[in-house]
Symmetry: D2
Subunit: 141 residues, 4 copies
């Protein structure tokens, strides 16, 4: 399945940590987002293009399971996969590992909906995006 | 069930928003945490007391479903409930509503484990805390 | 001068801290912003009103001196004052003290400009705001 | 002076923006910190090494002037320079430009003190660090 996913890495900064000396749990969602943005860029589209076409990609669900903590200066590898792809909604999976140790740190997902900015309603994922996500999708309905 | 929950409210600040003009989805987890801290305070204990007794409360799972967006200056009401209570782990539920309109904005939960700081392992929730959470728990195992 | 300032307080949350066990220095600017917003509210106007009239209040300068650290659960008192008021720009001062100990924690300021959203240029501070800020200003040019 | 500075770049993420559609001003301080950390790494030392030797590097002053806004997906170049170097304290300068347009976005600095973690007091900057910063310093006292 490794051919069907995208990987990126980032370094934990001091501001990501909390007084327990580890990355604050909410920041994993910010890491997901950075990985998501780089994933889109790797496919050749950006939030900005979507926005200019009057489309938002609001999240309808966010989930993360925490396996092991990460600390300042750790390099994290984030694997993004398209877990599910439907007409108006898709689900991205995220797997975070410590790049040095290979330890699994976190598993999560985001459920994202295509939304018409003006109407404020769910709409079909544009074909140009759909065609890029489809070959990567583990499940298509 | 309203007698078995805790409610608090907060005002959305400018820094909570993103370029879509709404609260960034990751910030709901920060709102959960503020509500959690005030919930503990209402029961008469604080993270600081736990920490001084060598106990952490790491999160093993975080989840949020987003129903409607919130915007700068909105007042959000957050209801905290004890959805599940076990020997070493408990689950807090969060329900976020727009205080002015009454609209449901988000539903989420955190699964929290009691962990011995030194050993880095799950441990029993201290009796002093357990006794405070038990009367509020919807489910006890 | 105490009659010419506004005071508010907030409690340090876990997410505000970093691995040094203290509030991350960048978060004081978020505290300033919360205090600023409550200051405006106390005067009877909000960012939202400004926005609806096509006005932004971008910051052109931000400064903070750190005197003593603050920690999780500390209650901070923030005093806001109008240090300087000009035609298109004003400067708010912030003084942060630990409410329990009275210790001075931080001193800072923000220089804020009134900007026309469409034109993207500095513009006169609207009279309705100016009239509310003027009685509080330590210096007027 | 370009031989005496360090440059790094980063991409603005969605979470960095606010409802004005631009990077929230407080996030420039987070950008400074990331650049600072990479600057140290380029010199061969990390916060973690310092921490293990019982040293903190608390900030005593933070400052930023904002020239032009930056937006989602912009690539920012951050130049770090050692503006001043003394026995116990040093000042890092930051210059942020939009990499594509070359526009100057922000100028700032951090005043950083070497502090003994146990004693909670300012202490001499360790020789190993001093020797790495000295060749880069614009001013030495």
């Amino acid at each position: 399945m490794s051919t069907k996913s995208f990987k990126t890495s980032l370094r934990v900064t001091w501001a990501d940590t909390d007084a327990a000396g580890v990355v604050h749990y909410s920041n994993y969602f910010r890491f997901f987002e950075r990985a998501e943005e780089e994933f889109y860029a790797s496919l050749g589209f950006a939030f900005t293009d979507l926005r200019d076409s009057g489309l938002w990609l609001p999240r309808v669900e966010a989930f993360c399971q925490y396996k092991k903590p990460s600390r300042y200066n750790d390099v994290l590898e984030i694997e993004v996969s398209v877990e599910d792809l439907r007409e108006k909604v898709f689900r991205l999976g995220f797997k975070v590992t410590n790049k040095a140790s290979g330890d699994l740190l976190a598993l999560g997902h985001l459920v994202i909906v295509a939304a018409d900015k003006q109407a404020g309603k769910a709409t079909k994922i544009p074909l140009s995006i759909l065609e890029k996500l489809r070959p990567l999708a583990k499940q298509i309905l």
